[in-house]
Amino acid sequence: MFGPLGISLAPYVRSSKTLSKWIKPIATWYADASGYRKYGFKYDDLIMEENDQVQRALKRLTPQETYDRAYRLKRASHASILHKPLEKEQWTPVSADVRYLKPHVLGVLKEEAERQKWDSITFNKH
C-alpha cells in the first residue's frame, strides 16, 4: 500500500526544528532498543525484499555490498538459531548503520513513476 519502503513521517519531522528536537532522542533510543543491531544487521537489511522493486534495487548494489549483506544475513540467522545475540564487539555501531539500499529502491521507484507518466501522457504539439 505504501510501497516497498513503508510509510514514513521522517521527512515531516525533519522539516520542523522543534519536532525533530523532541523526537530525535526517542527515535535514536527506539532504533537501538529494537535490537536489530545486536544481531549485526543494518536497518536496510530489514526492508522486505519479496517484491520486484527491491529485487531490482538489490541487483544495483556493488559486489562488495552484496557480499556484506549476505554475510550479515547468514550471521544473524546463525545467532537466531543459538537463541542469543552476537558478541558485543560484533554489534553494528550506529555509525555503520547507513541506508545503503534506500537510494537504489528510490531510484527504481522513480523510474517506475516516470514510465507511468510517459505511458499516460497527453501530448499537445504547438
Binding site: K59, R60, T62, H104, G107, E111, E114, W118, I121
Partner: protein, 430 residues
C-alpha cells in the same frame, strides 16, 4: 498554373544551388566542425561524429560499450524519457561504430531539429554512465553485438583480417570480447578523453547550415576544448590465420593493405574491377572474375579506406571448400593480371563503374556521412566533386603501378570454416 510552375523551377534552382556545404570549424563552437547539405527532402538527419572508434580504445570492447551507452540517461533526461520523447516527435535515434568514429544519428521531420540536436548533445555533454544501466541495458546489447558478429563468417574474417593487417590501432576489434570486464569508470575515462571539441563533427542533411551551426554552437558550448585524440600511425603487416567454424558458408578472405592514401581512386577502381555484382538482373556479370567463379560461390570485393591506411580485399564465401579454393585461385589470377595492366577499353568501363558507385554512395545518408566523416576532421575539401574528380586521373599505367605495389606486400589471408580442408595461401598462388 504558369506561376506555380515558375515557382517550382525557382525552388529547384535554389536547392541545386546549395547542393553541398563545406565544413565550417566555427570559432564560437571552438572547433566543433559542422557540415550541412539540403536536398529539399521532408526528413532531416543530424549525425554527430566522434573520434571514438575502436582504434582509440585502450581496452578491447571499450568503444563498443560506449556505443551501446548512447541515448541512456543524461543529466537532462532519463533513458526512457529520451526514447518516449523521440517517439512523440516521430524521430529515429541510432548509434553506429566504425574503427575511426562513433556516429550518433537522429532522423526527424523538418522543424524538430532543436529537440534532436539537444538529445545528441546531451549525451556528449552530460551522459551519466550509471553502473546499473551498464548491467541492465548496455551489457546485454554488447553481448548480442558480439554474438551476431561471431555467427557471421564474413564479419569474423574481416575482423581477423584487420587484426592481422594492422595489429594494434586499426587492428582492434569493433566488438567486445565474449567475457569482458569493463566497468563504468573505464567508460567514463574513455568518454572524457573522446568528448572534446576537436574530436567532434556534426553532419546534417536536409537542414540549413546556419540553423544547424546556431544549434551546435549553443548546445556543444560546454564540451571541453581539449585537442583532438591522436592514434599512433598505422603500419601494414599482413599474415595468415585459420579459424574453425561450424556455422555459415566456407569463407576465405584474400586481402592487401597499404598506408599510401594517394592511390585511393586506383584501389576503388580495382574493387570495381573485381566486383562480380551483375549490372542487370539474372545475369552473371561481365567482369572476368564472375566468369571464373564456380556455381554456389559468391565473391565480394571490399575496399575499406581509413584516415591513414586502407585495406583492400576479396571475401569468397562458398558452400563447399572446393568451390572456395577454385574461386580463391581465380581471384589471385585476376589480381595478378590486373597488376600487369588492363586494356584501355576495360579500364574505361571499370573507372566509370567505380565512379558511379562513389557518386551513388553519397546520395544515401549513410554513404554521405561515411564519405564526409573521413574528410571533415582533416579539414579537407568535403565536396562530392573532389571525390569524383580523382577518378578522372586514373590512367592505365597509374592503375597497374598501384595494383602491383599493393600485391607485392605480404598478403592478409584468413579462412573461416572447415580449416582442415580450406586452402592455404600458397595453394592459391599468393
Amino acid at each position: 498554373m504558369l506561376s506555380s510552375r515558375a515557382l517550382t523551377i525557382q525552388r529547384f534552382a535554389t536547392t541545386t544551388a546549395r547542393g553541398f556545404a563545406t565544413a565550417v570549424a566555427d570559432a564560437a563552437a571552438g572547433g566543433v566542425k559542422v557540415a550541412a547539405v539540403d536536398f529539399g527532402q521532408p526528413t532531416s538527419a543530424v549525425t554527430v561524429l566522434v573520434k571514438a572508434g575502436s582504434r582509440f580504445q585502450n581496452k578491447e570492447g571499450l568503444a563498443n560499450v560506449l556505443k551501446n551507452f548512447a541515448f541512456k540517461s543524461t543529466a537532462k533526461r532519463s533513458a526512457i524519457g529520451t526514447v518516449r520523447e523521440a517517439e512523440l516527435y516521430g524521430g529515429l535515434l541510432s548509434a553506429s561504430l566504425t574503427r575511426e568514429h562513433l556516429a550518433l544519428t537522429a532522423e526527424f521531420l523538418r522543424g524538430d531539429e532543436a529537440f534532436f540536436v539537444d538529445v545528441l548533445s546531451s549525451f556528449i555533454t552530460s551522459a551519466r554512465f550509471t553502473r546499473h544501466e551498464l548491467g541492465e541495458y548496455v551489457q546485454p546489447l554488447v553481448s548480442s553485438d558480439t554474438l551476431t558478429a561471431s555467427s557471421n563468417p564474413a564479419t569474423r574474417a574481416l575482423e581477423a583480417a584487420h587484426a592481422l593487417a594492422f595489429r594494434s590501432g586499426l587492428g582492434s576489434s569493433l566488438f567486445a570480447p565474449e567475457h569482458s570486464h569493463i566497468g563504468v569508470d573505464e567508460i567514463k575515462t574513455f568518454a572524457e578523453g573522446a568528448f572534446a571539441k576537436g574530436n567532434i563533427a556534426v553532419v546534417g542533411t536536409n537542414i540549413e547550415a546556419s540553423t544547424l551551426t546556431k544549434l551546435v554552437d549553443a548546445s556543444f558550448a560546454s564540451v571541453a576544448a581539449t585537442n583532438a585524440s591522436t592514434a599512433p600511425a598505422s603500419k601494414y603487416f599482413g599474415g595468415e590465420t585459420r579459424i574453425e567454424s561450424h556455422e555459415g558458408p566456407q569463407t576465405v578472405f584474400i586481402g592487401f593493405g597499404t598506408t599510401d592514401s594517394s592511390t585511393s581512386a586506383e584501389l576503388a577502381t580495382l574493387t570495381a574491377h573485381l566486383s562480380t555484382t551483375p549490372l542487370v538482373k539474372w545475369a552473371k556479370g561481365l567482369s572476368p572474375l564472375a566468369q571464373a567463379v564456380p556455381e554456389g560461390t559468391a565473391v565480394q570485393s571490399v575496399y575499406l579506406p581509413y584516415s591513414d591506411a586502407s585495406l583492400f580485399g576479396v571475401v569468397v564465401s562458398s558452400k563447399t571448400t572446393e568451390g572456395a579454393k577454385e574461386a580463391g585461385k581465380a581471384v589471385v589470377e585476376t589480381l595478378k593480371k590486373a597488376a600487369k595492366g588492363l586494356t584501355e577499353q576495360e579500364l574505361k568501363s571499370v573507372v566509370a563503374k567505380a565512379k558511379f558507385g562513389a557518386a551513388s554512395e553519397v546520395e544515401s545518408r549513410e554513404g554521405l556521412v561515411n564519405v564526409l566523416g573521413s574528410k571533415i576532421f582533416t579539414g579537407a575539401d568535403v565536396s562530392v566533386e573532389s571525390t569524383l574528380s580523382a577518378f578522372d586521373k586514373v590512367t592505365a599505367s597509374s592503375f597497374s603501378q598501384a595494383v602491383s605495389t599493393l600485391i607485392s606486400a605480404k598478403p592478409t589471408f584468413v579462412v573461416v570454416g572447415d580449416s582442415s580442408r580450406l586452402p592455404y595461401a600458397d595453394e592459391l598462388g599468393l
